[in-house]
């Protein structure tokens, strides 16, 4: 690795951090130079987040050191990190919605009195620097997500940053907002700050980054220096990154498979714009399986309710629901699954009114639900894999007879599903909570897609999974639809929706605000347009 004498360098040397059962970072070394955008690439679980939480002072490494400009620093707390000028923008908003922009920015102030005048000036400076306009007195809750993120960046740079870390900054943004973000990053870079950009989308790394470091299974497996990246064509860069990201996996394919594997990997890593992968269906010839007529939901909680939702899903159709996280997706899926009651409207399944039907009856009719909270709602972590696989059929033969559990029948069924869905578990008796996220998701799919499933609601099915499992999950959903099943797919990942859906509806604040038939180019922009229109108001 190269270091230049003129610009300051933040060096990580031999960082190792282990959690029970997982080595999140294994001897990771890298240099972050000022005036550069350093991209950290790697799939979920590669150790990107651990590395930045070490930089942010939220975790301490088991071994290894961080040095700034040659002298070793001990980032023992987030406060130390801030004092050193390391600002982190986390993936999920850390702003207090009920506070104004200015109040949010001043949260970290240590003085006794609030110096609003100075704070306003500082915000002005930063807004200039970022090239955005931020109203200091606007309530954070009223801002669009793109603007909220700008406020987060301003907050990270509040104390005069040396290093700005952006953790998956594009994951919640519309295509339009991503462009704005790119411009802001350029300006920050010109000011001589170092920027670390974390992403799992290859094309963003190429577009925004000056150099790229690839992490896999906690190790630094590849680095593309500034000179190399500048010299590469987009295709060359892509190949180099993919080779590092998937290394052995791709090589192991061998022969003709290798080509298709490489393409597949490229697609999963978001190297190219997404295209639809599912064969078209003739809507008119397919009977309607699920119909919602002006349905509003009513739950006890504080999350956003579905309001006046009307939609139809036909046999063999995948209907995608796009939207920013927390805009009523949970309410809509629970409404269809029967976990949340409807305050008005009608839910029809195969033409029958099931508005008042409970979860278990819907389950038997073939309405299934793969929840996004797979750890606490979808499975019971303290119970065995086998029990989790039959948990929705409690009391039913052949698993229970006269109320008494039949361990043999449960085991047989579990072994069958474990084989069929390739769930990697030491045994059916292993506690489900000890499995990886991907294998837990396979438990959910094995349970929900079998035994007479006719309609499955899937909420964020690939969130937080490794790329192989992502691919598998998508294949399973495509196969399910091809076999005549209907899918209501709720996702925040636009690429995923475009790959899988026949049609895409956009949800915002619990209402469906527009629909797009996914039949060619421009779907992403159209969906983005609906999302922007609904969320950012006029702009």
């Amino acid at each position: 690795m190269t270091t230049t004498a003129t610009s300051e360098v933040i060096s990580l040397r031999g960082i190792t951090k282990a959690f029970p059962g997982v080595i999140a970072n294994d001897d990771v070394s890298l240099d972050i130079l000022s005036g550069q955008v350093h991209c950290l690439l790697g799939e979920n679980g590669a150790g990107k987040s651990t590395l930045i939480s070490i930089l942010a002072g939220m975790q301490q490494p088991d071994s290894g050191s961080v040095s700034i400009g040659g002298s070793v620093v001990d980032i023992s707390s987030p406060k130390v990190a801030v004092d050193l000028g390391i600002g982190v923008v986390h993936q999920h908003s850390t702003l207090v919605p009920a506070f104004t922009v200015l109040e949010n920015l001043m949260l970290g102030e240590s003085g006794v009195m609030l110096d609003k005048k100075r704070a306003t000036e500082r915000l002005g400076e930063l807004a200039d620097l970022l090239g955005v306009e931020i109203d200091p007195h606007a309530l954070t809750a009223d801002l669009g997500l793109g603007q909220q993120q700008q406020v987060e960046i301003a907050k990270a740079m509040w104390k005069g940053s040396r290093l700005l870390v952006l953790d998956e900054p594009t994951s919640m943004l519309t295509p339009q907002a991503i462009e704005h973000l790119g411009e802001s990053i350029e300006r920050v870079k010109e000011r001589g700050l170092a920027v670390v950009l974390i992403t799992h989308k290859l094309r963003e790394a190429y577009a925004m980054g000056d150099c790229v470091t690839i992490l896999r299974a906690g190790r630094n497996v590849g680095h593309i220096s500034v000179e190399e990246l500048a010299a590469y064509s987009e295709q060359q860069a892509q190949d180099a990154i993919l080779a590092a990201m998937f290394g052995d996996d791709l090589a192991a394919g061998g022969g003709a498979d290798a080509v298709s594997d490489l393409e597949e990997a490229a697609e999963l890593a978001g190297a190219t714009a997404a295209t639809r992968e599912i064969p078209a269906i003739d809507f008119d010839s397919r009977p309607v399986r699920l119909e919602l007529r002006d349905v509003s939901s009513k739950g006890g909680g504080r999350d956003i309710e579905a309001e006046g939702v009307s939609l139809t899903v036909r046999e063999g159709e995948i209907l995608g629901i796009a939207g920013i996280d927390g805009h009523g997706q949970g309410a809509l899926s629970e409404l269809v699954a029967g976990q949340r009651s409807a305050s008005s409207g009608t839910v029809l399944f195969d033409g029958d009114d099931i508005t008042r039907t409970g979860v278990r009856s819907r389950q038997q009719l073939g309405v299934r639900y793969v929840t996004d909270d797979r750890l606490h709602e979808g499975t019971v972590g303290s119970m065995s894999v086998a029990l989790n696989l039959v948990i929705k059929r409690i009391g039913q033969a052949p698993f229970w007879r006269f109320g008494r559990i039949q361990p043999k029948a449960v085991d047989t069924e579990a072994v069958r599903l474990i084989d069929e869905y390739g769930i990697r578990t030491p045994s059916p008796a292993t506690r489900a909570g000890t499995l990886s996220g991907g294998n837990i998701q396979k438990i959910l799919l094995a349970r929900e897609l079998t035994n007479g499933a006719r309609l499955v609601v899937v909420n964020k099915p690939t969130y937080g999974l490794d790329l192989k499992t992502v691919h598998l999950v998508r294949e399973l959903l495509i196969d399910f639809a091809a076999g005549g099943g209907s899918v209501l797919l709720l996702s925040t990942d636009l690429d995923e929706l475009i790959e899988l859906s026949h049609r895409i509806e956009v949800i915002s604040r619990g209402r469906l605000v527009g629909g797009v038939v996914n039949d060619g180019v421009g779907t992403a922009e159209k969906v983005g347009h609906y999302m922007t229109g609904a969320i950012e108001g006029t702009d």
């Binding site: 059962g21 997982v22 001990d74 278990r360 709602e377 019971v380 008494r404």
Partner: protein, 373 residues
Amino acid sequence: MTIPNETTTAQRFATGFVRSVVPVLLALIVAGLIMLAMGSSPLDFFAGVWKYGITGTNWQRSLSLMAPLVIVAVGLIVAFRGQLWNLGYNGQYLLGAVVASGLGPILYGVMPAFLATIVVFIVAVLVGAVWSLIPAILKARYGTNEIITSLVMSFIAVGVVNLLIKGVFKDPGTSTPQTAVISDDDLLPYIPGTEIHIGFIIAIVLAVVAQYVLSRTSFGLRVDIFGASPKAARHVGLNSTWMVILLFALSSGLIALAGSVDILGQFAYQRADWDPRYGDAVMPLVFLARFRPVAAIPFVAFYAVLATGGTLAAQQAGLNVDFLLVIVGLILLFMTVTEYIGERRRLGQSYLPPGLRRTVLQPFRKATERTSA
């Protein structure tokens, strides 16, 4: 990225045993130290516990005491398995007791003892169950914290019971506020050849049945799912309102049954302001037993011996009888510590809390960093 977390049954059993017995031993040791500090001899005390709790026919008194304790334990376990913290046990117990001591003398006059006993038991269970409806419904409908509501209902129950004993159930034959004494012939019969009443057998049977139901049936699995995660329970399609009410009713009904068994087997009458507070002592024990009814039996037996022998032994050692509760409190304390350490060990972490470890290792860490930099 999973760890092979499989352990053999023997290993699991061993850890469970260690984690359950260690707190008890530590509590006894520290209690001994406290006795030393207070100028009493711990050896005398523990010898006294042995003498008055086990030797001669004293073991029979200990087993008789176990009857209500085991039933209370089962009642608590039923609720705790569903993560419902029914702390209204004192009131529920006294309600059951007053049904026996108040209704008993009347019923035994008009019907055969066998039938009257059955009626008393059924009424006791019903009264306990009905009394728990208020905390249960508040919890199910509005999410009110059941710890507070059940505790408050317990205070009310204690008051109501005292009013009944001083009022309608008062024995006109005596001046002290107490109920009429039930004649020996009407009390629960002894197990042949002993002086242990059959309440002991009822308690053991209840524990075994509860163990079977909770671990082998679909109902038990539903309770466990509900306890592990109400969200998962909703996802699976369980009716959580019904579950809360049912578990609370079962728990409270069982504890009330313990009260009636205790009166009909042991005391034969009830005085006002009498409150043995069995639940306070049993609660840490059911945690030690990891909410398994059968596993609770040895712990309850241990406590029964301690309580039976300890009362006299404490007096001889010059201690207050309340010292027994000190020991129970210490068990609770050490249990928390053992759990914490055991959990960290299971996760493969250091025994020390992270903050403490950092502080302790600080000087050494600095040195190594300097050399590496």
